[in-house]
Symmetry: D2
Subunit: 135 residues, 4 copies
């Protein structure tokens, strides 16, 4: 059976979009993930702040890595995100997972997203479905 | 006062991320928006399907354009997305807004996201806050 | 195999809380449910409007009846509700399900809640998990 | 200006539904609330477990008390709840608010709902709108 770190390495290999986002893995443990990215000019919307889709993508990747690191392939069912603070060019966003509940088939996570000043910029909640397929 | 189409044109000008996504505006009316994008190789995750952040970004842009087209600057408060079907390379996704309720300060939208076969790939719900600032 | 109407009758039997709410079944078909209740004095909060929990309970029951009527026992995973309009004493609320997606294990529903003037008072979205247990 | 405890006392006065639920206030501070209830036979659904609307109502009341205790009248905009564990007859549920973000007009809260064994039974997230009206 693969380790959490090996699973995430496999997930990131050939992951073109995470590569484009410049996602850095800070920490991976069984069921836990902490990742970050830096906002560049391509990630800005017309208001010259980060598009909501960038913060969402970071949080959704964090959820995926955390949930898959248990060893079974997992897909997200539904997710919600509350945008709390504007994100600007060059900000460094860090997403950290918090496992709320793990059932046999469904897991619930919060993902906390903060900037380089340790201020919350978004709160994400996601449900995942654990399949029977092993990594 | 600017027309809905002028507002969205202003929003899209200098919007680097929407440009990167290749968002095409299909239809803009007061409070309504329909936009699309085609999934390219840079948008795929390690499973070789579109990253959830791509579908989210399209829906979030659709919400932003629809809500701002009323004439007051609007920001999203909270959004949820349910991913219903896998999205593959070269799929064309279309997002269409449905206004559920418009109060003085808060609006509620559904955004329906379908692929080129007219199959739902995601359902998005968002709340926006209308500011007093005029476009 | 039991019919949708039989399943809902079984669910309502010995359902003390639905009895307390005074839920009336308007229509049941496979995967579909429409139910109503009238707001009484016991359902009001300190502002003398219906407590949000009343509208939620009606929508959640509607989801449960709709999802179980396919024939497999189903439980809700996650639900969201947007409260759009105040609900007053003696208002009659009707909740109607809309099936958005049915997978093997997970289903997604919207539930539309309107008052006697046919005005939306809330929008509810729910995910259900279909078990292998048959009614 | 009224204290948090006075505001919640006012809210609970003439609150017929909270009275029916048997809500007990455990702790009120500025922006914070902890309340509980015990599940009785009238709160059960046809599966002889507590109806989802009961847990929701407790969480929604907790949100309302916490948000209004800042001193401005506050109403909830949208809420989500994840049901994590079955709730049985005679269980004692405690809901505790966690303020995630407070802007001028919008606040975001988590509400953690646990049973008498200190097990999570649900996780609730809510957005409130702070009006300019003072208690």
């Amino acid at each position: 059976m693969k380790s959490p770190a090996e699973i995430v390495r496999l997930m990131l290999e050939n992951d073109a979009y995470s590569n484009w986002l410049g996602i850095c893995v800070q920490e991976i443990n069984e069921g836990f993930c902490k990742i970050s990215l830096q906002v560049n000019a391509s990630m800005l919307n017309g208001f010259q702040i980060a598009h909501g889709g960038i913060t969402y993508a970071l949080a959704d990747s964090c959820l995926a890595f955390a949930a898959n690191s248990f060893g079974n392939k997992a897909v997200s069912i539904d997710t919600t995100i509350s945008h709390l603070k504007k994100v600007s060019l060059n900000d460094v966003l860090t997403a950290e997972s918090e496992l709320i509940n793990k059932g046999k088939k469904v897991g619930v996570y919060l993902v906390h997203i903060k900037n380089q000043e340790n201020e919350r910029v978004a709160l994400f909640k996601g449900h995942v479905h654990f399949s029977s397929e092993i990594w």
